[in-house]
Subunit: 353 residues, 2 copies
DNA sequence: CTACAGTTGGATAACGTTACATAGGAGGCG
DNA sequence: CGCCTCCTATGTAACGTTATCCAACTGTAG
């Protein structure tokens, strides 16, 4: 009873520790730890006493101290673009899975730069996360491979085949081809594709896969001479900028595959301002099926990737890896075309011939 | 030299610790720690040796172990809605400030529910974050107050006055009034406001302030009898739903203050589908000035809140609190009206009188 | 009544770092 | 030449957990 100066009293201010709980319950630290972890070898009377003290002191375990020895029960997500609404969908899918499995999720925001992303990933590792999910990382495969050796990891995006981590991605090549098939079946021949700035040496980004799918499908239809790559950036402004150049192109394309919804919005915006009729004069298709696209007056033809499901799958794969699986899984989800109002048979363009 | 069994060899696989670095450099652990922390009392020769070993072993400090004694140099953000693009803006503002000050940012995603948010906040505290930023939390003031006593905290949203934490918010009441003033000056009298579901007892949410501002301004213009509150939800679907009811209202309002851009998008979508002309038949205004709103054909009249700046201010306030300030700051940013194409003098509506 | 198995509770060494207290050595001054 | 001072480098006790090992106790069978 008459212990150290401070004594038994709940000297408030400081957070209660497992030691405080042990004193309060009049049992050993080890026993409290056992109860808290649900470890075997404790009587129900002991459980009750400890739980009462935990309640009384409103004790919460110190995650760092716990993490010093065992798992943190926390996974980290590297988010390469916090503004991308598709990525938000992914995260919602993850949250549900992890939440139901007692894992916590922490997001580290990065920018599009490889350097920023790498430092964010390192930080996540420094924080002893039990696993990592990388959303559309820009890092080189060999670098990712090295990270995957250190910590359970899942990459969202068209990477792989991988040795030390799992991947989940949509079949962007197929999705892109679906758009081309759709446009060609409507009668289009001259089709433009807006490329996202992509260095030639890094071939495993969504933009690269979509570009490949576009090129392949155009070739399959015998239209290799009718395709037009428009270099630019997948953003509202980038779309507007690209639209300007598309209008100036000669011969002018009758359809545009924007590569991404956000770019399509920019393109639409510019075309509307210029009095170009959609879809009569120019058909426009996006990619991602963002919520905004489904609404009037946009009604954008797009490709759905079911981001929610993709996030959930990534989460499940990560949990499996944390549990010990080491053979790599590479899940590819099949995208589907959503036809809406911005695509139709070429009208004015055909007449002008 | 002939130490323990494992000896000096870089037994790889495990992550290098400060002890490995000390052995490698042939100095004490304490010295390594000093160099790493930039503490005074180390010779430049020592610095060089240690840094060389750090490099050689590619050592990275263990954040948890560090956090056990001192600060974590990590701040946590409770994000109540990951889909809200305005919140993304806030985070971008924060990232810049924290990044430049050597702090890391981790985001914990929550849902709109108070319960979910509280558990996320608790978790952030369990992770020993040095400070917390809460984005539009739903918790009661007294609960927030209690958290603020435990850890440096900044709340973004119209809370306060507070005793133990800082707040940053836009003047939503004023912003809402700006919209009303604008509409009234154009000649509107009958104006609808889309309320976001808000329990009567929790008055300090943005939606409440915007509702108050609407009511106050209408009263100021002697239009208290002409206002129409439309209960609903601030989302695309919620906007569409509200638009339906607004069209059925009698007398039909000539203008709608949607409360938020996302709701305005839904309203516009439905009205366009129904063949209602914007702005001739009905004027629509949003709130938040989201990027999409500025583009044709939406061109939404809205209120700008400079989210980027708001996030940066929140970050700075938090750093001040972490540094020791305890007097509460309550920053209020002045919003500004952005007039675009969805508002004009009432046309058809006036003729129908 | 003793020996033994089975069960329950407790001491304690890690985990990787920081920061405090102190030892050792060089240099300056009387 | 010795003492004092400063400066650098080191040893080590925390921080709050977990998990292993061990002691004590209970009950049971011989």
């Amino acid at each position: 009873m008459l212990g150290v100066a401070a004594g038994e009293g709940d000297r408030s201010g400081r957070r209660a520790t497992i030691i405080d709980v042990a004193h309060h319950a009049g049992v050993s630290i080890a026993s409290v730890s056992k109860v808290l972890r649900g470890a075997p070898g404790v009587s129900s009377a002991m459980k009750e006493r400890v739980n009462a003290s935990v309640e009384a002191l409103s004790y919460r375990p110190h995650r760092l101290a716990r993490g010093m020895r065992g798992p943190m029960f926390t996974v980290g997500v590297m988010l390469s673009d916090i503004e991308n609404p598709f990525f938000s969908l992914l995260i919602q899918g993850m949250v549900e899975v992890f939440g139901s499995q007692g894992y916590e999720l922490q997001i580290a925001p990065a920018t599009a730069g490889e350097e920023s992303q790498n430092s964010v990933i390192d930080s996540l590792i420094d924080h002893q996360m039990d696993g990592l999910i990388l959303i559309a990382p820009r890092g080189r495969e060999e670098h990712l491979e090295r990270i995957g050796e250190q910590v359970p990891m899942v990459v969202i995006g068209p990477h792989g085949p991988s040795e030390h981590y799992d991947t989940v991605s949509g079949d962007d090549e197929l999705g892109s081809a679906l758009i081309v098939d759709h446009l060609v079946s409507l009668g289009h021949r001259r089709i433009a594709f807006l490329t996202n700035e992509h260095p030639a040496d890094r071939l495993n980004l969504p933009e690269s896969a979509r570009a490949r799918g576009f090129e392949e499908a155009m070739g399959r239809h015998g239209l290799s001479d009718d395709l037009l790559f428009v270099p630019g950036v997948w953003s509202l402004e980038g779309g507007r900028d690209a639209a300007r150049r598309i209008l100036e192109a000669s011969p002018r394309p009758t359809a545009v595959h924007a590569g991404a919804d956000v770019a399509a919005f920019g393109i639409l915006s510019y075309l509307w301002e210029e009095g170009v009729r959609i879809p009569e004069d120019v058909s426009v298709a996006g990619y991602d099926n963002s919520p905004m696209g489904s609404f009037t007056p946009i009604s954008l033809t797009s490709v759905d990737q079911s981001g929610h499901e993709m996030g959930a799958i990534a989460a499940k794969l990560l949990l499996e890896r944390i549990a010990g699986r080491s053979e790599p899984h590479n899940d590819v989800l099949t995208p589907r075309l959503i036809v809406r109002g911005t695509t139709s048979a070429p009208g004015a363009a055909i007449q002008s011939r």
